[in-house]
C-alpha cells in the first residue's frame, strides 16, 4: 500500500486570509526545508541514510560535539555519538545526567512492532501520529519516527531496560491514548525513568571510555555563532559561578520543552527555555510556539503555595468515570452523597462514542468549562487573576472509580493503578478507594520548539535541535506515549545519521577565545548577570514567574481568543518592564545562587510568552492543543482551517524592539489526506 | 575524600566486600566453636567425673594420629587465625566508616536497625576483653579466686561460680555474646549472599535469634545452676 504513496501532492498550499496579529509581526519570506526528501514515503529515510556522507572513523575524534541537555534526546545522542568515536561534551544543569525530566514520564513508549498482530504497522503509527497532530506536522519526519520506533525497543532491551513482560517472557504491550492497537511498551508507571536510565548508563559508559565529558551543574547561557556557524556555547558553572566558554564543531540543543512558561506545569522546577531562546535570539527560528499540550488528569492546585503540578497517568481514564454535580449547590457536598441522577458524566453525555477516552485537549477544555460554569469540585481556591482581581473558584472534576471497583474488585484496581492511587493519597491526603479522585488539567508538553529541517538542523548552520526542544514531529498535538519515542528516535537513530552530513565538511577552522563572536557572547552573559544582581528592586524572580504564568494560563491556555491574546501581550510587555526594574536577586555570582539562575530563566520565559501569544493570535483556527474561541463549530468543537493555516509558523527574532518576522513553511501531504477530526 | 577519577584494575580481593567475607567466615568459625564449647560446658550437669573426663579427652582427641594435646593446639591455631582475621577486618571497616562521615548529624534517628546490630563494634570489643579475662581465668592463669586446687576443671568452675560477682561477669558476657550472635549470624549469611529473597532474609534473622538464645542460654545455664546450687562439688 505504502510504496506508491508519497509521489504527488494531495493538498494545495494554504492561503491565509485573516490577519489577527497585524501590527505585532512582520510578514517574511516563506521558508522551505532545504533537505526535505522526496520519493515514496517509505524509502525516504533509507535513501537519506545512504546519501548522507560518512565521516572517516579516524576523523571523528578530531570533531567536537556539544550537547546541551541529558534527557532521552540528549543522553541517547551523547551515548551514540560517543560510541561512534566523536569527542562529545555533554551539559546539564542538574547534578547528574540521570535527573533530566524525561525521567518523570509515566505511561509508555509507542513502537510499530506489531507484536500483538493486531493490524499495526509503520504506516499506521505514522497515520495515527499525523492525525493526532491535527495535520500540522511534517509527514517525512513523522514517517521516519514511526520507522525507527521498532529499533528503539530493540536497543532499550539490549541495554537492560526492564520493560513489562508476560508470563511467556515476551514483552507486554498496552493500548494507550485512545488508539485501537496495542503498541505501547511500558515499565509499570515508570517507563520514562527506565528509558532514561538506559540512555544515562550508555552515556556513562562513554564517559568511562573517554569519548564523552560531562559537565553537570552547568547552564548554557549563550550560543556562539562565529562566521555564520554555531561553534560553541557560553555556560555558567552553577557551583562556582565561573563563566566558561566551550568551543566545538557543532552544537546540539536537547534542552526539552518550555511548559514552565505557565509557571505551574508538570515540568520539573528547573525546566526552562533559556538554551533554545538564546539560540532564537541568535538567529534560530522558533516554530509554532503556541502549540501546548494540556493534560487532563493532573492533581488539582491546592493553594497559592503550589510550585508545580503532578500528572497522573492517562490510563486512569480507561476505568475511571469523569463527572461533576449537575447543580452548583451540590459542589461542596461529599460526592458519595450525591445521587446518581444528580451527577453529570459530561464526557459520556457530550461524546457518547468515545466517552471518557476523548483526546486530551477535549477532556481538558471540558473540565475547564465545567469549573467556569461553577460546577467544579474540591476546595475553593483563591485565584488571583492576571489583572490582580481575586475570586474563589473550585478547580477540579471527579474521576470516580466506584464503578470500576464494584465491577473488577478492589484488588484488580489496586494491581492496575495502585501506585497512582498511592501517589494521589500522599499528595492530597484523601483515599481514592473511598472517595472519588479530583483532577484538573495542567500544562504538560509543548509541541512547538525551534524550527529544524529534515536533518534536525535549525536555521543556524551547525546548530541541531532534538527531542521536545524542536517542533517537528507532533504537529499541533502529541499522542500519548510518543514523546519518549521521539526523544529516543532523535537521539539514537536520527541525529547520528544526519549530523554526519554536516560534519563531513569538518573539522572546521579552529577558533579561540579571542574570536570576536566568542568575546561578544561572553560579555553579553556577564553583563546580563551583573544586571540581574544590580537591579536591587523588591520582587523575587519567582513572583514574576507566577504572574507570567497566570497571564499565560488565562489567555494562552486551553482556550484563546483574539481579545484575550491582545490583552495578554500588553500585560506581558508591562511585566517585562517591571521585571527589569523591580527584580531582587540577593547574593553574588561567585557561588551557588538559585535566585540568579531563576532570574535568567524567567527573563527568557517572559520574552517567549509574548511570542507565544502573537503566534496564537495569528493562528485564527483551532487545531490540536490550540483552541481559538473564534474558530469552533456550532457545538463548540474545534474547527481547523487547512485552507488558511496548513503551515508551520517559523518566527525570527529581530531584536528587543523589533517585531518578530513570520516565515511560513507550507505543509504539503503526499501520503495522507487531511481530514477534519470528530470524536462524537 | 571523593575521588574525581575512575579506578583502574579493581580487584575483588581488595574490596570492602572481601573484608566482610573474611568477617563472615571467621565469625562462622566462632559460631561452630561456641556451639561445641557450650556442649562441653553442659557436661557439668553430668557431674564431676564426666566433666573432667571430657576435658581430659579433648587433650587425647585424635591420638595416635595426633600427638597429645595436638587437636587442642590445631583448634587454638584456627581460633587465633580467625580472631586475628575477624578483629583485623573489623578494625579496618570501623576506620573506613569513621572516615566516611566525619561531620555528624545534629539529630539522627534509627529507624529499623536493631540494638544488637548497632552494638556490634563495642560489643565485639567487650567480648574481646572478656576472652582475655576468660583465658586468664580458666586456661592460661587458672586463677581460682576462692583459692582451691586449679588442676581440677570441675572444681575450679564450681568454686568460681559460687562467687556471685564472677557469675555476674559471665552472665553479662553471655548477654554480649547473645547480642553479637543475633546480628552476626544474620550478617554473615547476608554477607555470603544467601539472603536474596525476603523469605530467606527472614529465615537468616530467625537463625540469628535461635543461635543467640541457644548459645547465650546454654552457656548461662551452668553458672546459674552453680549459683542456685543445682550443680555443686
Amino acid at each position: 500500500m505504502a510504496s506508491a504513496q508519497g509521489t504527488s501532492p494531495l493538498n494545495q498550499p494554504a492561503q491565509q486570509v485573516s490577519d489577527d496579529a497585524r501590527g505585532y509581526y512582520t510578514p517574511g519570506e516563506p521558508i522551505v526545508d532545504p533537505v526535505a526528501p522526496t520519493g515514496p514515503i517509505d524509502q525516504r529515510w533509507t535513501q537519506r541514510i545512504f546519501d548522507n556522507r560518512l565521516v572517516n572513523p579516524a576523523n571523528r575524534r578530531k570533531l567536537d560535539i556539544i550537547i546541551v541537555g541529558t534527557g532521552l534526546a540528549g543522553g541517547a545522542a551523547a551515548a551514540t555519538l560517543g560510541e561512534a568515536g566523536y569527542n562529545v561534551k555533554s551539559f546539564c544543569y542538574q547534578d547528574s545526567p540521570r535527573r533530566a525530566h524525561s525521567i518523570a514520564a509515566q505511561g509508555g513508549i509507542n513502537a510499530a512492532k506489531n507484536y500483538k498482530e493486531d493490524g499495526d504497522s509503520t504506516f499506521r503509527l505514522f497515520y495515527d501520529t499525523v492525525k493526532g497532530g491535527d495535520y500540522r506536522s511534517r509527514e517525512s519526519n513523522v514517517y521516519r519516527l514511526a520507522e525507527v520506533s521498532a529499533n528503539i525497543i530493540d536497543q532499550c532491551v539490549a541495554q537492560g531496560v526492564p520493560f513489562a513482560r508476560e508470563y511467556g517472557g515476551l514483552l507486554d504491550n498496552r493500548s494507550f491514548g485512545g488508539v485501537q492497537v496495542s503498541r505501547t511498551f511500558y515499565a509499570r508507571g515508570q517507563t520514562g525513568q527506565q528509558l532514561l536510565l538506559g540512555a544515562y548508563q550508555a552515556m556513562e559508559r562513554q564517559v568511562a571510555a573517554g569519548t564523552v565529558t560531562q559537565y553537570t551543574r552547568h547552564e548554557m547561557l549563550e550560543v556562539i555563532v562565529a562566521d555564520g556557524k554555531a561553534r560553541g556555547i557560553v555556560a555558567r558553572d552553577l557551583v562556582t559561578g565561573e563563566i566558561e566558554t566551550h568551543l566545538a564543531d557543532v552544537v546540539v540543543l536537547a534542552n526539552g520543552g518550555y511548559g514552565n512558561v505557565f509557571f505551574l506545569s508538570t515540568n520539573a522546577m528547573g525546566s526552562n527555555v533559556t538554551a533554545a531562546w538564546r539560540a532564537h535570539r541568535k538567529g534560530a527560528y522558533m516554530a509554532n510556539p503556541c502549540y501546548t499540550q494540556i493534560h487532563p488528569t493532573c492533581i488539582p492546585v491546592s493553594g497559592a503555595h503550589q510550585s508545580k503540578l503532578t500528572l497522573m497517568s492517562e490510563s486512569l481514564r480507561n476505568d475511571g468515570r469523569i463527572w461533576v454535580p449537575k447543580k452548583a449547590e451540590d459542589c461542596d457536598k461529599d460526592p458519595r452523597d450525591i445521587p446518581e441522577e444528580d451527577r453529570d458524566y459530561y464526557l459520556e453525555r457530550i461524546y457518547p462514542a468515545f466517552g471518557n477516552l476523548v483526546p486530551r485537549d477535549i477532556a481538558s477544555r471540558q473540565a475547564k468549562n465545567m469549573c467556569d460554569e461553577g460546577r467544579g469540585v474540591g476546595p475553593a481556591v483563591t485565584e488571583v487573576g492576571p489583572d490582580g482581581t481575586e475570586q474563589q473558584v473550585r478547580r477540579g472534576v471527579y474521576l470516580d472509580f466506584a464503578d470500576a471497583i464494584s465491577r473488577m474488585g478492589r484488588k484488580a484496581v489496586e494491581t492496575k493503578y495502585g501506585n497512582l492511587f498511592d501517589m494521589y493519597a500522599r499528595i492530597t491526603g484523601e483515599d481514592p478507594y473511598e472517595t472519588p479522585m479530583r483532577i484538573y488539567p495542567a500544562v504538560h508538553y509543548v509541541m512547538g520548539g525551534l524550527w529544524v529541517d529534515y536533518h534536525l538542523q535549525s536555521t543556524i548552520p551547525g546548530l541541531f535541535v532534538t527531542g521536545e526542544a524542536n517542533f517537528s514531529d507532533h504537529g499541533a498535538n502529541r499522542l500519548g506515549a510518543s514523546a519518549l519515542m521521539q526523544g529516543l528516535a532523535d537521539g539514537y537513530f536520527v541525529l547520528p545519521n544526519t549530523i554526519r552530513e554536516y560534519l563531513a565538511d569538518g573539522p572546521f577552522e579552529k577558533i579561540d577565545e579571542s574570536h570576536p563572536a566568542v568575546v561578544e557572547a561572553r560579555t553579553d552573559v556577564e553583563q546580563r548577570i551583573q544586571k540581574f544582581l544590580s537591579i536591587n528592586g523588591t520582587r523575587s524572580a519567582d513572583s514574576f514567574h507566577k504572574q507570567l504564568g497566570n497571564i499565560m494560563w488565562e489567555y494562552c491556555g486551553m482556550e484563546r481568543s483574539e481579545e484575550g491574546l491582545r490583552k495578554a501581550i500588553d500585560m506581558i510587555r508591562d511585566l517585562k518592564k517591571e521585571f527589569w526594574t523591580d527584580l531582587r536577586v540577593l547574593g553574588t555570582n561567585e557561588s551557588i545562587n538559585q535566585s540568579l539562575e531563576r532570574a535568567g530563566r524567567v527573563a527568557d520565559f517572559i520574552e517567549l510568552g509574548e511570542l507565544m501569544c502573537i503566534d496564537a493570535l495569528n493562528r485564527r483556527e483551532s487545531c490540536g492543543g490550540h483552541f481559538r474561541a473564534e474558530s469552533q463549530t456550532e457545538d463548540g468543537e474545534a474547527l481547523r482551517h487547512d485552507d488558511e493555516f496548513a503551515y508551520v509558523a517559523a518566527w525570527e527574532w529581530t531584536g528587543e524592539d523589533g517585531l518578530p518576522v513570520l516565515h511560513k513553511e507550507d505543509l504539503i501531504y503526499t501520503a495522507i489526506e487531511m481530514k477534519q477530526r470528530s470524536y462524537k | 575524600m571523593a575521588t574525581p577519577t575512575l579506578v583502574k584494575g579493581a580487584r575483588a580481593t581488595r574490596s570492602t566486600v572481601a573484608l566482610k567475607i573474611v568477617m563472615a567466615v571467621s565469625g562462622l568459625v566462632f559460631i561452630g566453636y561456641v556451639l561445641a564449647h557450650m556442649y562441653g560446658n553442659l557436661k557439668a550437669f553430668a557431674g564431676h567425673d564426666a566433666y573432667n573426663d571430657y576435658a581430659h579427652h579433648l587433650r587425647e582427641f585424635g591420638e595416635p594420629m595426633l600427638p597429645y594435646e595436638g587437636f587442642l593446639w590445631v583448634m587454638r591455631l584456627v581460633l587465633v587465625i580467625a580472631l586475628v582475621a575477624h578483629v583485623g577486618a573489623a578494625v579496618a571497616l570501623w576506620r573506613r566508616a569513621a572516615k566516611a562521615r566525619t561531620v555528624k548529624y545534629q539529630v539522627k534517628k534509627n529507624q529499623s536497625s536493631s540494638l544488637s546490630s548497632r552494638t556490634m563494634r563495642w560489643g565485639g570489643l567487650a567480648l574481646l576483653l572478656f576472652i582475655v579475662w576468660h583465658l586468664l581465668h580458666f586456661t592460661v592463669g587458672k586463677v581460682n579466686p576462692s583459692g582451691g586446687a586449679t588442676n581440677d576443671p570441675y572444681n575450679l568452675m564450681v568454686e568460681s561460680f559460687d562467687l556471685w560477682w564472677m557469675t555476674v561477669i559471665y552472665l553479662l558476657a553471655m548477654l554480649a555474646l547473645g547480642f553479637h550472635l543475633h546480628h552476626g549470624t544474620f550478617s554473615a549469611i547476608q554477607t555470603l549472599g544467601f539472603t536474596n529473597t525476603a523469605s530467606s532474609r527472614a529465615r537468616a534473622k530467625q537463625a540469628g535469634w535461635v543461635l543467640a538464645v541457644v548459645v547465650a542460654g546454654g552457656f548461662s545455664l551452668v553458672p546459674l545452676s552453680v549459683l542456685v546450687g543445682i550443680i555443686e562439688k
Binding site: 491546592s302 503550589q306 | 547476608q190
Partner: protein
C-alpha cells in the same frame, strides 16, 4: 501552622557552616515540604537575607534530586522523597531540624546541597550493559522469565537520591550499588559483564571513600523506593563468585 526551623547554612564547600533558626507562620498542611521552604525563601528574600539553597527538580518523587535530613530521618518521617513529603505529617508548633546529607563523599556545596557525583562514577565503573546503538537483536530474541523481569524492575526503580548513604551509620552506598547490580544481573543481557561489573563498581565505591556495609538495614528503611536489603546480598554473592573466578 507555625513552625520553628533549624536549618544548616553554609556558604560554600570551603566555608564552615552552622545551624540557623527561623520562625515560619502560615504553613498549610497541603504544602509539600519543599513548598514550605519556598515560602520561607520568599520571606527571606523580602527581608534581604539570602534564600536557603536546596536541590529539587521534578518534585514528583522520581528524579532523585531532592533529599534532606529532616529531624534525623532521611527524607523525613514518611517512606517517600522529600518533595512528596507533605506538611500534614507535622503539627503546629513543631521544631524541625533540617540538615544536608552527611557523608565525606558528598561534600556540602552550599546550605543543603551536596555533591553526589560519586554515584555517577560508580555507574561509569560498570553500571551498564555494553550495547552500542544499532547493534541490538530483535527485542523478542531473548525472553526473560517474568519473575526475573519483575525483580529487575523492582530494584531498577532506585532514584540515586543518596538517602541510603545518608542514613547508613557507616556511610556505605551498598544499597545503591546492589540495586544496579541486581537489576542488570537478573537479565540475560547483563550476564556477560556480570562479574566484572560487581568488582569494578565495588572498587570505585571503595575508592570514593564510602564505608563498608554491616547489614544493619537503615538504608532500606530510608529508601523512598523501598529497595530491599536482598540487593546487598546479591551484590555480595556476585562478588564472592568473582573472587572464586579470581577477578
Amino acid at each position: 501552622m507555625r513552625l520553628t526551623l533549624n536549618i544548616w547554612r553554609q556558604r560554600d564547600a570551603a566555608s564552615a557552616g552552622s545551624m540557623q533558626k527561623y520562625e515560619l507562620d502560615g504553613v498549610s498542611e497541603d504544602m509539600s515540604f519543599l513548598e514550605m521552604l519556598d515560602v520561607l525563601n520568599e520571606q527571606l528574600n523580602e527581608q534581604g537575607e539570602e534564600p536557603v539553597a536546596f536541590d529539587s527538580d521534578c518534585r514528583e518523587g522520581i528524579c532523585g534530586n531532592c533529599g534532606l535530613m529532616i529531624n534525623g530521618q532521611a527524607h523525613g518521617p514518611e517512606v517517600t522523597t522529600t518533595c512528596q513529603l507533605h506538611m500534614r505529617s507535622f503539627k503546629d508548633g513543631d521544631d524541625i531540624t533540617i540538615e544536608p546529607w552527611r557523608s565525606d563523599v558528598f561534600p556540602v556545596l552550599r546550605d543543603l546541597i551536596v555533591d553526589r557525583s560519586a554515584f555517577d562514577r560508580i555507574i561509569q565503573a560498570g553500571g551498564y550493559i555494553s550495547a552500542n546503538t544499532g547493534s541490538a537483536p530483535d527485542a523478542h530474541a531473548a525472553p526473560v522469565e517474568k519473575k526475573k523481569a519483575d525483580r529487575a524492575f523492582d530494584v531498577a526503580t532506585c532514584i540515586a537520591c543518596g538517602a541510603c548513604v545518608a542514613a547508613c551509620p557507616n556511610g556505605s552506598a551498598s544499597l545503591f550499588m546492589g540495586a544496579k547490580i541486581t537489576h542488570l544481573g537478573e537479565l540475560p543481557q547483563g550476564q556477560p559483564e556480570r562479574y566484572d561489573r560487581v568488582v569494578n563498581m565495588v572498587g570505585q565505591h571503595d575508592a570514593e571513600g564510602f564505608g563498608g556495609c554491616t547489614n544493619i538495614g537503615e538504608c532500606t528503611a530510608a529508601c523512598p523506593k523501598e529497595i530491599p536489603l536482598d540487593v546487598i546480598s546479591q551484590l555480595n554473592k556476585d562478588l564472592r563468585t568473582a573472587l572464586k573466578q579470581g577477578r
